[in-house]
Subunit: 254 residues, 2 copies
């Protein structure tokens, strides 16, 4: 086993992704919330207004995070090369990952950050994340709120999670050990792109063999994403699975 | 010993005191942060501007807390009848209480709330709490921040502490401690026999397509078993996977 990465190193591998934010003030508040907890990498997916004076004003000393923010056209672009993404979502979505309480979700995020790039994904202020966006993520997290008034501000949600991340990253300097990862890794975790490459390949084969009718998909793809998402694919496994798919596409030569 | 008060009752005994706040936006953000975590009692000591449209705008659905806020001339007035007050203060003050980490400080606050009225006291955005104000409090709490940029926004600080208070108040009640992503089953778990049927089917396809050479199996099967074993297959998933395998074995009829 390698030495666990230092807390600063772990924090540097965490992207905060704001998908379709409406209010530039919240972008600025998120940047400040991140920096104050030692996170630095802000990704914005089609922000309504950015850059914007209001974002800069609310960021105060964290304007450097706004300057270095990555603006993306799609969530997939923001998640490129990540191995684990956690969606903020209060409720269970159809076939999406089950929202976990904050502390186990943050412990898992840091565990994964020890292996590669990870992301925390926040939705639009009014409508949150779409089902499709949540399905892109391997895990979901829910912040407990007053059931009678659960309207947590976007910047405040970023603050709570970044705070928990800092608390966990520096807790006794020891990484939380997950009870669940029983199988030691044989190879590194597959990146999101590598996973998507597999799903696309699988879909091609399913369509070519008439197993999947694109006109009547019957939720086959989300069901398969859910299955392989639970397993957390390693790169060797993606290669084996794609090898099998390729083999079925190639008629054997005798 | 009496029965411990219910979490809602504990939360109702906690005052959030903002001393000399400069920006009405922060007062509104604090009200929203409180209400979203189930706290209701806001006290304002000589606010620079209050009431104010900006406070109301930032409070959104928590404007009722602003309407019922108690405006005081002095901190002593805001702390009247409390048995325990905790000052937010990053550094040790002359003769003041030693700043505690968040979780022990919040645990103590709730313990005291079981006995009577308590308060959490936040200072001015720029200068924080004065030594005199901190000395009025029985305890102090410090939120960990990035030493290179420790400028936590006032509303964000209120959010973090109210979140921790809610977490602690409901701990052991119903705060789910689920150790692991237990994706709710879409279907029942596959039996061992059903799983074995899938592995056998997969092996047949791998051999037929020449992906697997039975004379040189290269640990392919154990690797695939490890992958699907991690996922814990459900019966629906076994059926889908076997459906795909069957489809690859059957040439499409046009």
């Amino acid at each position: 086993m390698n030495e666990a990465p230092a807390p600063e190193e772990l924090l540097s591998r965490i992207r905060v992704v704001l998908s379709r934010p409406s209010h530039p003030g919240n972008i600025g508040a998120a940047a400040r919330a991140m920096k104050v907890m030692g996170l630095t990498r802000l990704y914005l997916v089609t922000p309504e207004r950015f850059p914007d004076a209001e974002a800069t004003a609310r960021a105060t000393g964290a304007a450097d995070l706004l300057e270095r923010a990555t603006v993306c056209a799609t969530l997939d672009e923001a998640l490129a090369d990540t191995i684990h993404a956690v969606a903020l979502s209060a409720r269970q979505r159809d076939l999406g990952p089950v929202p976990q309480p904050v502390r186990p979700a943050v412990a898992e995020l840091l565990e994964q950050a020890a292996l590669g790039e990870v992301a925390l994904v926040f939705g639009n202020e009014t409508v949150g994340l779409s089902n499709d966006e949540v399905q892109r993520c391997q895990a979901a997290v829910s912040i407990p709120t007053n059931p009678a008034f659960s309207s947590l501000n976007l910047g405040a949600a970023v603050q709570v999670l970044c705070y928990e991340i800092r608390m966990a990253a520096y807790a006794g300097q020891k990484m939380p050990t997950s009870p669940r990862r029983v199988t030691p890794n044989v190879s590194r975790a597959a990146t999101l792109q590598e996973q998507e490459g597999f799903y696309q390949h699988l879909e091609e084969v399913m369509i070519a063999t008439r197993f999947l009718d694109p006109a009547k998909p019957k939720r086959l793809v989300p069901k398969l994403r859910r299955l392989f998402g639970r397993a957390k694919l390693e790169i060797d496994e993606v290669n084996i699975l794609r090898g099998i798919l390729t083999a079925t596409q190639t008629p054997p030569r005798d």
